[in-house]
Symmetry: C2
Subunit: 344 residues, 2 copies
């Protein structure tokens, strides 16, 4: 049996949900593609690293993390290689980049991907850093080597956005993109609208898992800026970095602002936008007032939306309703299926 | 140059917009696929019929219709063949079915498509009748003969719905579909909400082109039932006909109902639904009250939405905002591009 071997860089919530989906769908993949999918490496920063060209026992790895928080001492191939060393040493066809994001540089994910390409390995990334900071360079390298480079998960989880344009809107030229892409700010704005004080919202949000320990990346719009940059680099060949996004967060929005807006029939949302202009693609992230009757007003909490305008198909919107971690896993899984398709 | 030859059955607004798009994109298609696309036949009921294996002069055909309403006497290949005879006699690789819909039988479109398959021709249909009334049979025939059978335009114009699931949600099993798919009822309900009397709405809607001469098909939910049947037959292998849809139109909705709903923060919409149950797929078309804050409430006038729930990706919605005839043309155009892809 011809196998497809994967190296997973990172094994957090998304990586583990992907491993579970893989276990669940293994038989079906075999039936459709005649191939077994093996995970031959998993690297983590604090839970241990495994390299095993025979294929890692995913059920045991998942159980170990759940019960002990780390991979057990009895795991064949347990080692202390770094993620970069794993890319070099693992016996794999595909490197799946899921390491923590550095939103200001895209590293070390970019280095992992470059290394993978240099060894002629396909790459799937769930990490938006590389798409926001180094897309053109990475895409060029993949193309020259005839390698797959897929990144659907980087914006709106597994919701078809990049694949939507590539596979279902052929010959359409994207002229404008907008969207609500950051759920933390969505949540905070809604809670402010209910009259809750900022400090309490942050405290409760952290307890509920909606808000990160350091929420500045979300609140100040850096996360949204990275996402809109990724969208524009891929779909409009913008060739920009997040630094070129005209960015304003929601840190200055008060309960009073929201109340005033409501009195005028408006709702405040952190909106990402990109438009084709005579001077290239202009990108922004800004709190804006939208009509209460507008579709955007209905996009609340963890729900997100992207609207794509093209020359031939006008404006379409795709909404992802209240996703769970499984939707992130599907983004990676769907990209893996595309690798299987490409190798058919 | 290897040519792709098309026979167009029907040359109404959508057919003419498709011909214009083809003229506009001909060069680009040649650059990408190395093929010329020729229209070798156009059949109409009242504007004349042309069969010309050298390729019809589309610019002249469009100009003739615009200036004279019929194809000119000087058109090479002008004849009086029926659509079915055109399918038989035209020198073509692809038959594009765009004849008027009979919503109660799917005919004569089904016969046109069967004839095309029997002659080993690919089929693109913009006519939802065949998908609602005979999908399984037609799909089977196409598969057995290795022919393309594409029908993206039949629901929400060129908006990716069928292609969305097939190309971007691989391995996902559809468990539920819902949507607002009929713009006439959307328009009538909105005008009723403004306090206008039913008769005036119909009169004004007909003048504006929003409402057909005989609006019963829309108002009584037949059009929506055909659309939801098409969706369910393709995406959930429902194997049903529109007669099996639990159908209720908006003919019983009064301005009073709408006002009462509004007082409870609700909006009335004609909602299509299909769900997987233990007894197969259950389909309905019914006026329902949705929350004013719901995304569905924001889908007004000619805007439409379909929500698709799958096992792996939860619920996604796709919205087509206020489409024009070009979006219908793109549905046909995109399907034609898929034929070019399939023949690569």
């Amino acid at each position: 049996m011809n196998e497809l071997k994967l190296a997973l860089l990172g094994f957090g919530n998304a990586g583990r949900a992907f491993a579970e989906m893989l276990l669940e769908k293994q038989e079906e993949i075999r039936a459709v593609y005649g191939r077994d999918v093996l995970v031959t490496a998993i690297s983590t920063a604090s839970r241990g690293t495994i390299v095993n060209s025979e294929g890692i026992d995913l059920e045991k790895a998942l159980r170990d993390i759940e019960t002990k928080g780390i991979f057990g001492d009895d795991t064949p191939g347990l080692c202390s290689l770094s993620s970069l060393e794993v890319v070099e040493k693992a016996d794999c066809h595909v490197v799946i980049e899921m390491t923590p994001l550095n939103i200001f540089t895209g590293q070390p994910a970019i280095s992992h991907i470059k290394k993978a390409f240099s060894l002629n390995r396909h790459v799937i990334t769930a990490n938006k850093g590389p798409i926001a900071w180094a897309f053109d360079e990475l895409e060029k390298e993949a193309k020259e080597r005839g390698l797959c480079f897929y990144y659907e998960t980087t914006v709106m989880d597994g919701t078809p956005v990049f694949n939507l344009v590539e596979h279902t809107l052929k010959f359409c030229k994207v002229t404008e993109i907008s969207g609500i892409l950051n759920s933390t700010t969505n949540y905070i704005l809604e809670e402010l609208a209910k009259g809750k004080p900022y400090d309490e919202i942050l405290k409760a949000g952290k307890e509920l898992g909606f808000i990160e320990a350091d929420p500045a990346m979300d609140i100040e719009g850096y996360d949204a800026a990275a996402k809109v940059t990724a969208l524009l680099n891929v779909l409009m060949k913008a060739g920009i970095t997040p630094e070129q996004v005209d960015r304003k967060g929601i840190e200055g929005i008060t309960a009073e602002d929201i109340k005033n807006a409501a009195e005028r029939g408006k709702v405040i949302k952190l909106l990402c936008r990109g438009q084709l202009t005579d001077n290239g693609v202009k990108a922004s992230v800004k709190p804006v007032e939208v009509d209460r009757e507008d579709m955007l007003a209905a996009v609340d909490s963890t729900t997100s939306v992207v609207s794509i305008t093209t020359d031939l198909m006008g404006k379409l919107s795709v909404i992802e309703h209240a996703p769970e971690i499984q939707q992130t896993a599907y983004g990676i899984f769907g990209d893996m299926i595309r690798v299987l398709d490409a190798e058919k």
